[in-house]
Subunit: 175 residues, 2 copies
């Protein structure tokens, strides 16, 4: 299929909506409504004993304290996913890491939204300086590895579940 | 936190955008941009030897044939997630199932979108009648269980990854 036109129908701060027109191999054409998104990163930051997560309010889904991996949007011009992940890990949980591995890229809701998440495993952790953004209310959560399944059970955020489950499966741990 | 007002700023066919205002425990108030969504279902339909997936074009992310679990939106008035999952499984892969288990509910992108996915495991499969909707171009994919890790590697759709990884972990298989 081929994108033959694109029209912005709503320009929001985060949620910009376009109607794009596509032509298919059989010659037919259809419009699709698409929510634009710059992409995001998420990080499984761990040592041999624990991993670090966060709890934060998520107004869109009416949750006061959703358990998630440290994560953030690619909203700084020119910043790579790795640089964004390094910045977010330090801002949100106050850690730096010496070993970074890109494990997976995936779409959060490919039926209507562009958002692509790049998932990293980070280890070799060192103390950094937590610095949540203005208006961000983030609690740092240490999860002992023996409580990994309990964290998976509590977690209801897709990107974090993918990260925790890949980590649990040992997938992505190899080169 | 408490939602104190809500205003629709864009009404689309799928993507409706609201700006909701929230009041926090400290008394402060903030606006949040939220993409409305009716919710969705996804199904790991399997027997002892294989599971069933689909490949379909996903225009929003520029993919001609994304490997996903059978899934669909809760867009029929009054239909429960289970009824929606039963309908979608038959429409998309032509199967009915006698055993249904709700395994997990999760949000695909809780930072800005309401979408909640209810994930089911379905077994006791019987032949039904595939009936994709108009304009849907869906290929049915049989995945032998010994190829599960290869499917996880190919898959780049968050809800499907959560389903495949929970199935692989044997999580949700118990009551």
């Amino acid at each position: 299929m081929e994108r033959i036109s694109s029209k912005t129908v709503h320009e929001g701060e985060i949620a910009t909506v376009r109607i794009d027109r596509f032509r298919y191999p059989d010659g037919s054409e259809r419009d699709r409504e698409i929510v634009s998104h710059p992409g995001a990163v998420a990080i499984v930051a761990h040592d041999e004993e624990r991993l670090w997560m966060v709890r934060q309010p998520r107004e869109a889904v009416g949750e006061d304290a959703l358990l998630e991996l440290p994560a953030g949007k690619l909203d700084v011009e020119g910043e790579s996913p790795l640089e964004c992940a390094q910045r977010e890990l330090e801002e949100e949980v106050g850690k730096r890491a010496t070993d970074w591995r890109e494990v997976k890229r995936f779409y959060t809701s490919p039926g209507f939204a562009e958002e692509e998440v790049t998932l990293f495993f980070a280890s070799g952790l060192e103390e950094g300086e937590a610095n949540p953004g203005e208006g961000e209310d983030i609690e740092i959560v240490e999860v002992p590895l023996e409580r990994l399944d309990a964290a998976i059970e509590e977690c209801v955020d897709a990107k974090s579940l993918v990260g925790l489950l890949l980590f649990r499966a040992g997938l992505g741990a190899q080169d």
